[in-house]
């Protein structure tokens, strides 16, 4: 799994690329893998306000719908209009063509809560451990 150095990461598995006061936001490689085939994306509109830790978009796999949470507060200045037509781009290129929105950050302090690539990699490892806590006792089979 890939976590580019230049990005910052949220606990809800969004990534942020900071360019001045603009944050480009998408979901991480780990998130897209966990979701599986993405078949539908619902994005906010330009001018809408997003609030840190509140849902701003929804992505749907064939199986389920998931909220995407804003890693920073601010106003949406651009949305990736190609995604609704080709939502699978998020699976194929989560950090590139799969970006979701650009936000003008209202409070730069929001960035303090985000993780570096290294911190996020550790965070994901821990989450995977918690999820697969019974992975080691493969020898035990339940047959009744």
């Amino acid at each position: 799994m890939e976590f580019p150095e230049e990005l910052r990461y949220s606990k809800e598995h969004e990534w942020v690329l900071i360019e001045g006061r603009i944050a480009i936001v998408g979901i991480t490689d780990y998130a897209q893998k966990e979701l599986g085939d993405i078949v539908y994306v619902e994005l906010p509109e330009i001018g809408e306000k997003v609030v840190k830790d509140d849902p701003f978009a929804a992505v749907e796999s064939v199986k389920a719908v998931s909220d995407v949470y804003a890693p920073v507060s601010g106003a949406v200045v651009e949305v990736n209009d190609a995604l609704p037509e080709t939502p699978e781009t998020i699976n194929e290129d989560p950090y590139g063509d799969g970006w979701m929105i650009k936000v003008e950050i209202s409070d730069m302090d929001d960035l303090k809560d985000l993780m570096t690539a290294e911190e996020y990699a550790e965070y994901v490892d821990k989450e995977k451990e918690d999820e697969g806590e019974e992975e080691d006792d493969d020898d035990e089979k339940e047959e009744d």
């Binding site: 539908y40 749907e60 064939v62 199986k63 719908v65």
Partner: protein
């Protein structure tokens, strides 16, 4: 993110009871499956991806571990009468070697479970039941059995695999002396598959041709590997529960807990064809006779979304006049058709094909059309 509204994943808090494993658990892990809790079992939800797996079953073949399904056996001189009393379909019409889709009913005509009844011998029936309902069904059937019928939960004696898809017969035939070509749908036979003793039936839950194979759990992994190997040249893939769900939904096959439950009758669920009033007395018959005479108030229908979005279970459905008329039971984006499809119950006045309705998706109403079922026909 990853806070899915998926019941199979919602079991993280409080600590859920330990999930059960099928004998193929290790095989799934080695294939890199993503595992999820389903009806108390730790099952593969996908190996390579739901869409890829789904399309493999439609165009080639797929292999499913469905050992979580339960088996209840009913035998003895009163076995047929017991089956007749507790179900809607006419079990007396089956011959030995024939399987029948059926529903277990309660006294209100509600569906306890949807089942497949295999007639192993004149007075010996194997009932394949849903994993989530195994205990409930076993208790229900045993509780109504007299001295003339013996009822046993034999779920732990079987591994059940499903080999499904247009190439299923080509893959299985070289491994068994049984002449598959002459085996009709809903027929079964005991036969060896490369020296493993199996019950092979021409049944499934995908809308494709295919087989379900029951064998001794000790042989389960060998059978799984044999079939995977035999199918590799044909593009056979292992298939998880994710694609099992989208495949059955395209074919409009009901899933218990979604389209069917204890408060839903077969007449409402589009299962009148399963309900044989002519067979005589059975549990819930009076309720169903009355319902048939007076007409049902709500009905299971197919929906296709006209506006963007995916309708999920429990989303409300509205009429064009914005009146609440029902609820979605299952929905997805159909991998085969590329359209957003759903099943749901609506009041019967709104159930006509072509009728325009709306599904509320996260506070927004998306237009949808009532369409004929199934969505997919092979």
């Amino acid at each position: 993110m990853i806070a899915e509204s998926n019941p199979a994943r919602a079991s993280t808090s409080p600590p859920a009871p330990r999930l059960r494993r099928t004998p193929l658990y290790g095989a799934h892990r080695r294939l890199g499956a993503k595992m999820v809790g389903f009806a108390g079992w730790d099952m593969p939800v996908q190996y390579r991806g739901v869409i890829e797996e789904h399309l493999a079953v439609r165009s080639r073949a797929g292999l499913f571990d469905v050992s979580h399904m339960g088996e209840v056996e009913v035998s003895g001189p009163g076995a047929l009468d017991l089956c007749q009393e507790l179900t809607a379909n006419d079990v007396s019409r089956t011959e030995v070697g024939q399987a029948q889709y059926n529903v277990l009913l309660n006294e209100h005509g509600g569906i306890v479970d949807d089942i497949v009844v295999y007639r192993l011998a004149e007075t010996y029936f194997l009932i394949c039941v849903n994993a989530a309902n195994t205990d409930k069904d076993f208790r229900w059937i045993r509780g109504r059995a007299g001295k003339e019928a013996e009822v046993r939960d034999t779920s732990s004696r079987y591994v059940q695999l499903a080999l499904q898809g247009p190439l299923a017969e080509k893959i299985l035939q070289p491994l068994t002396p049984l002449k598959l070509e002459t085996m009709k749908p809903f027929r079964f036979s005991r036969a060896e598959v490369s020296s493993i003793s199996c019950l092979i039936s021409r049944t499934g839950y995908t809308g494709e041709d295919g087989f379900e194979l029951y064998c001794d759990p000790a042989e389960g992994e060998r059978l799984w590997n044999l079939l995977l190997d035999a199918g590799s040249a044909f593009g056979l893939l292992p298939i998880g529960l994710g694609a099992r769900d989208t495949l059955r939904l395209e074919r409009a096959l009901p899933l218990y807990g979604h389209e069917l439950d204890d408060d839903t009758t077969p007449l409402e669920a589009g299962l009148e064809w399963v309900t044989k009033f002519s067979k005589g007395a059975f549990l819930g018959r009076e309720v169903l006779v009355r319902q048939k005479r007076e007409g049902v108030k709500r009905k299971l229908v197919g929906l296709e979304l006209i506006e963007p979005g995916i309708a999920r279970g429990e989303y409300p459905i509205f009429s064009r006049q914005s009146l609440p008329i029902g609820r979605v039971t299952s929905g997805t984006k159909s991998p085969t058709l590329g359209r957003s499809i759903a099943l749901g119950y609506v009041s019967v006045e709104e159930a006509a094909e072509g009728n325009l309705v709306a599904v509320e998706i996260r506070g927004r109403k998306a237009a949808a059309k009532i369409v004929s079922l199934p969505f997919y026909h092979r």
